[in-house]
């Protein structure tokens, strides 16, 4: 997706530079959400079973202070867990990685607690490693991308990237295009040095 570089400021995402073109974005692979979803389904099944037992065996007719405390405590726990689960799912949508023709932005955000931004200039990338080790990772085509920078010893790890090979190639292509864009200027300066 190439836009007019003159007026791209905040066009696709908040923080986009005026001369920056958006290429793609991605979220983490859905597989890392599976344990939380399975536990939520199990919890709902237990609660549904308990409610069915209460109605079927007429347990709701037992009116005592213990009954009141058990009902209230169970409701508080289940409501808290339901909110926690849905906020976790919503957090999945806020944690994104954006690739533009100049930068790589890893935004890790949650609804209430977290707001982390990691921005890397793709021109300074020295080495990119694709890590897709394991049967499930190869079968579902997801993995990690490890980025090493030329300017420092710092590394950037993008975890659980879906279709890791496609995103690896997109990153490498963006890097090559940026280097190609910068190269003619250097050659022109070398050919016509200012006297």
């Amino acid at each position: 997706m190439m836009e007019n570089p003159a007026d791209n400021k905040d066009k696709v995402f908040k923080g986009q530079l005026a001369d920056e073109n958006f290429i793609l974005f991605f979220r983490k692979h859905w597989l890392y959400m599976i344990p939380a979803i399975l536990i939520f389904i199990l919890m709902c099944s237990i609660v549904a079973g308990a409610i069915t037992a209460i109605v079927f065996y007429d347990l709701y007719k037992i009116s005592s202070s213990l009954h009141y405390f058990v009902t209230t405590f169970s409701l508080i726990i289940f409501l808290a867990y339901t909110h926690w689960f849905f906020i976790k799912i919503l957090d999945h949508f806020l944690t994104i990685c954006i690739l533009t023709d100049r930068r790589l932005l890893a935004l890790s955000k949650s609804v209430y607690i977290k707001d982390l931004k990691e921005i890397a200039d793709i021109g300074t990338i020295q080495e990119v490693k694709e890590d897709q080790e394991g049967l499930i990772k190869n079968f579902l085509k997801y993995g990690d991308i490890v980025i090493t920078f030329a300017s420092s010893s710092a590394i950037m790890i993008l975890r659980d990237v879906p279709n890791v090979e496609f995103h690896f190639r997109a990153l490498m292509r963006a890097r090559e295009e940026l280097i190609e864009k910068q190269r003619p200027k250097e050659i022109a300066v070398e050919a016509n040095p200012v006297e």
């Binding site: 974005f25 409610i51 009954h67 409501l79 806020l94």
Partner: protein, 76 residues
């Protein structure tokens, strides 16, 4: 009476919290972004953030309805 009061207060707080969360997501976090969604960005390749928000709200309302029904069966 105390049970009814507890159930009503808990569910009002719960539904209010869900509404605040959804409004915060849509008007605080997502409104400024116009990122094109694809199969690599949706949960299970088809669940969008709007669907999750809708399911969240309906789930909380459903829990409230069930808790009111059980309280009604017990005390009325």
């Amino acid at each position: 009476m105390l049970t009814w009061l507890t159930i009503i207060v808990l569910n009002i707080i719960s539904i209010g919290f869900a509404i605040v969360t959804i409004l915060r997501i849509h008007y605080g976090c997502m409104k400024r972004n116009h990122l094109p969604e694809s199969k690599y960005t949706l949960l299970f390749r088809f669940i969008s953030i709007k669907k999750v928000s809708t399911i969240y709200l309906f789930a909380i309302i459903f829990v409230a309805a069930v808790s009111f029904t059980l309280t009604y069966l017990t005390y009325v």
